[in-house]
Every structure is written in structure tokens, then in C-alpha cells.
């Protein structure tokens, strides 16, 4: 399936809850087609709020979100992934992934083949008829990821998708995400509080500060694609960039 060039443009967004300090103040951000952008920041800096505004779940007080129309003038499809897996407990792995196909507008007769393909892609072969309750946290997030891919979104919004997983599983899931993303190259906004994860995965790392949520820095990645996040961690430039972002967060605080 071909995708028209999609760039996401966030223009001067301000979000307030009640009369408090704005959760997000005058934030602007451009995401190029196929770009992997990570947003880091301490909790309460409004990074999750930003994703909700982009997806339309929350209204902004002022500013615009521009999502150029994708092919055939359709509204571009936004795929959201939460930290919690949000799977349907009464549906099997197959049926949960099929939700993505059903909502993507794909012809019904293609669903079964696509779901089977995705189950292989996220390495869940053999678990097709399991219910989420019988799966580990990492496996549940793989199902979530497969559901997201089944929807075939133009933009992926990922809100700490691996935040609830243990360290090893998180690393593995990050590598899987890169493997899958490198094959399809959609735009991703990946929110995390883990600086190393952001540097290892993204093309660009954006640093946000809390109260009010603002953009304080933006770093282009120094690393080539395809990359293996695990071997990056030994690289001196990797450590230096992580240090820089650390200090920016400390200043912002």
C-alpha cells in the first residue's frame, strides 16, 4: 500500500485544564514523513497530553494540528498505543488484532491473511487462540503493536508503549519496533521518560519541560539506520548525547 507524503504539523498548541498553569504552552513541532521522533521529559511535562491532542481525544485551547490528507483525500489514519495494553479481555489474540483490520476499512476477506502475517511479524505464532489474560506483559504489548499495524496508520502515536515492561523485555520490544518500522517507515511520535530508549530508537529527540509543558531542546540523531539499539549503548557518542539530555532536563527542572 502506498502512502502520500504525510507531515504532521503542530502549531502553537496551548492546553489548559481548569485555571491552572497550562499543561502545554505554545508548543510547535513538525514531523517529517517517515520520521521517528521521540519526546522525553519528566512526568507531568504534558507529553501524553500532547499525543491526546494530536489524536483528537483532548481539545486544545488554542493552536492548530495540521494533518495533510493522505491518499484519495481520506483523513490520515492515526494509530495510538498506550502504556496499558488496552486489549479486549474476551477476545483472542487473533480477534484483538482483527480490530485493527476492521477499523482500517480493509476488505473483510483479506483480514485473516493479514492477521496471520502480523502474528508472525510480532513473533506470536502458536498463541493465536490465547486470551490476553494468559499472556505476559511483553506479549500483550506485541498484540497491541500488531493491532496498531493492522490498522495501517499514517502516523503512530506511542505513549510510553514499553514503560510497564521489565528492562530486558523493553530492549527487545524496542529492537522489534525498529525492525518493523524500518520495513514500513511511517511517522512515529514516541513518548518516553527513558532517555536511553529515546536516543537508541529515534531520528530526533525532543526534550520537554514541565509546568508549563514547553519544548526545550531538539537533537538530531547521530546514528545510521538500520541500527541495533543494543550495540549503540557501548558507543561514546551515545553516552555523550544521553548526558547532554540529562543536563537539559536538570536545567529545565
Amino acid at each position: 500500500m502506498t502512502h502520500a507524503p504525510v507531515t504532521l504539523s503542530v502549531e502553537n498548541i496551548t492546553v489548559t485544564f481548569g485555571n491552572d498553569v497550562p499543561a502545554i504552552l505554545d508548543l510547535s513541532l513538525q514531523v517529517a514523513e517517515g520520521e521517528f521522533v521521540a519526546i522525553v521529559g519528566p512526568s507531568g511535562c504534558g507529553k501524553s497530553t500532547l499525543l491526546k491532542v494530536i489524536s483528537g481525544l483532548l481539545p486544545a485551547r488554542s493552536g492548530h494540528i495540521r494533518l495533510p490528507a493522505s491518499e484519495a483525500g481520506h483523513k490520515p489514519k492515526i494509530g495510538f498505543m498506550f502504556q496499558r495494553d488496552t486489549l479486549l479481555p474476551w477476545a483472542t489474540v487473533t480477534s484483538n488484532i482483527a480490530v485493527g483490520c476492521e477499523l482500517s476499512g480493509m476488505p473483510k476477506e483479506q483480514h485473516a491473511a493479514r492477521v496471520a502475517e502480523l502474528i508472525a511479524l510480532v513473533r506470536l505464532t502458536g498463541y493465536e487462540n490465547h486470551y490476553p489474560g494468559a499472556l505476559s506483559g511483553g506479549m500483550r504489548q506485541r498484540v497491541s503493536l500488531a493491532r496498531l499495524l493492522a490498522y495501517d496508520p499514517d502516523i503512530f502515536l506511542m505513549d510510553e508503549p514499553f514503560g510497564a515492561l521489565d528492562y530486558q523485555t523493553k530492549i527487545v520490544m524496542g529492537r522489534e519496533l525498529l525492525r518493523i518500522w524500518e520495513a514500513s517507515r511511517r511517522s512515529i511520535i514516541f513518548v518516553t521518560h527513558d532517555i536511553e530508549e529515546a536516543v537508541a530508537l529515534a531520528d530526533r529527540v525532543i526534550v520537554m519541560s514541565p509546568r508549563p509543558g514547553r519544548l526545550v531542546a531538539s537533537h538530531e540523531s547521530l546514528f545510521e539506520r538500520p541500527r541495533d539499539p543494543r550495540s549503540l549503548r557501548g558507543d561514546a557518542r551515545f553516552g555523550a548525547l544521553v548526558q547532554t539530555i540529562w543536563s537539559e532536563l536538570a536545567i529545565a527542572d
Binding site: S55, G56, L57, K75, K77, I78, G79, F80, F82, R84, T86, L87, L88, P89, W90, A91, V99, G100, E102, L103, S104, Y131, P132, G133, Y151
Partner: protein
């Protein structure tokens, strides 16, 4: 494969369990307990108490046989089962619909909830004389009695089921452009189904109580009528026979509901 079987049979734990087999099974021990209680009752009824007060299992068994042969058993059982069954069916359909409606119109739910809670707390026996007055001593009065016992269970459970829905999957589907119909079919109905099945589990017994109360107060047929008439003739064996049949019906009905419920909510296992 053959090697595995040989190995397994040699393991002490497995062979002990195999020996324990039937006699160690819960079913056997339950049956044994029941048989012991019946034997105790029989002995006490024969040698200690006058069977006029407590009857005896052998007399009850004999009565059951006679009633079954004469066709009286099916005559009374079918009446009670029809009353309870129709009441339960009507109560579940009306209760689920009403519960979904109230969940949809939250303001209406908050206005009407005190009344529903009040009716739910009311001992429904108090309505029996009214139903006899309105519907006579035939089938409709008993069905209404059963209905009044179960309908609020469904209303309140369905309402609670919708209220306890997990919002996150719904938000997620909304960002993916899901229609209301899709969310109802994929999220709301499966979530509420577990609450409906729980309501059925509670309601089977309540529906029987409704039918029985209706029969005790005014009827010409049914297990309640049979118990009432036997008591009037100081026929303790007749009373106990009616009770035994009711216990059997309740147990079978409960097991059927549990079986269906487990099949429909297999994901919980």
C-alpha cells in the same frame, strides 16, 4: 511415546493418584456424605422420632415413585417449571433492555435509581396478594411473581456492568474512527455479557422462589400447591417429597446456568 507412559506409571505421585482415583474423587466423597446423612435420617426417623414429624427417606422415595407412576410428578413439576421459566425469560429480557436504556440515559438512571433500589429491597412476597387479585390464580400471577423477583437483578447488574466499563479501549477505538455500533458490538455487549450471566446465576433460584410463593398463596397445581395441600392433610412425607423435587430442580438448573456461563466467559479461565 511408549517410554513416556512407562515412566509416568512408575512415578510414585502418579500411581498414588491413580489408586486414589474414584474413591479419592470429590464426587465420591460428596455422594458418601449425602448417603450418610440420609442413613442417619432414616434411622432417627425409624427409632428415635415419630416419622409423623420428620418422615423418612424411604417413605419419600416410595412417594416419589408413586407420584412419578401416576403422572402427578410431571403434572406439578411442569407447572412450576413453566412459571419460573417464563418469569425468568421475561425478567431477563425486560431487565437487560431497561438496564441498557438506563445506562444510555444517565440522567434518567439517576432519577429512577432510588425507586428501583427500593423495589429491589422490597420483599416481593408482599406483592403476591396483589398479583392474585390482578391476574387470578392461574399461570400469569405466578409468572409475574417470578418476574418481579428477577427483573431488578438484571437491571442493576447491567447498569453496573456498563458503569464499570474500561474507558481506554473505547478511547483507542475512537481514535481509530470506530462507530458507536462497532463499540457496542465489540466492547459493550461482551463486557455486559459477563454481568448478564452473573444475573442468571442469582436469578434461577429467585425465579423458583417467585413461582413457589405464587403457588403457596393461591393455585390448583404445581409443587408449591402440592406441598401446601400435603401440609394441610398433615402429610409430612408429601411436604418433604415436594421439597426434594425442588432441590433437585434447583441443582440441575444451577448447573445448566453455570455450564452455559462458563462456555460464554471462557476467557476468564
Amino acid at each position: 511415546m511408549v517410554d513416556n507412559v512407562m515412566d509416568a506409571s512408575l512415578t510414585p505421585a502418579v500411581s498414588r493418584r491413580r489408586q486414589g482415583g474414584f474413591f479419592g474423587s470429590l464426587f465420591f466423597q460428596q455422594s458418601l456424605f449425602l448417603a450418610a446423612m440420609l442413613a442417619l435420617w432414616e434411622v432417627l426417623g425409624a427409632y428415635v422420632f415419630d416419622p409423623f414429624w420428620s418422615s423418612r427417606p424411604s417413605l419419600i422415595g416410595e412417594r416419589l415413585w408413586v407420584l412419578a407412576m401416576k403422572g402427578d410428578l410431571t403434572w406439578h413439576m411442569s407447572a412450576t417449571l413453566t412459571e419460573a421459566g417464563l418469569g425468568l425469560a421475561l425478567g431477563s429480557v425486560v431487565g437487560v433492555s431497561l438496564g441498557l436504556l438506563l445506562a444510555r440515559y444517565t440522567r434518567a438512571a439517576r432519577i429512577t435509581e432510588p425507586l428501583f433500589m427500593g423495589l429491589y429491597s422490597l420483599p416481593r412476597v408482599a406483592l403476591a396478594p396483589l398479583f392474585i387479585l390482578w391476574f387470578g390464580i392461574g399461570l400469569p400471577a405466578k409468572v409475574m411473581m417470578s418476574f418481579s423477583m428477577v427483573v431488578f437483578v438484571f437491571v442493576l447488574n447491567v447498569l453496573e456492568g456498563v458503569r464499570s466499563l474500561d474507558r481506554d479501549p473505547i478511547d483507542l477505538m475512537r481514535t481509530m474512527g470506530a462507530s458507536n455500533g462497532y463499540i457496542v458490538r465489540r466492547v459493550l455487549l461482551p463486557a455486559v455479557l459477563t454481568w448478564i450471566m452473573a444475573s442468571f446465576r442469582i436469578s434461577v433460584g429467585l425465579a423458583l422462589i417467585g413461582a413457589l410463593v405464587g403457588e403457596l398463596i393461591g393455585s390448583s397445581r404445581g409443587l408449591g400447591w402440592y406441598i401446601e395441600r400435603s401440609a394441610g392433610q398433615l402429610d409430612t412425607t408429601g411436604v418433604f417429597t415436594g421439597i426434594v423435587v425442588l432441590i433437585a430442580i434447583a441443582m440441575v438448573a444451577n448447573n445448566i446456568v453455570a455450564l452455559v456461563s462458563n462456555r460464554l466467559t471462557r476467557w476468564r479461565a
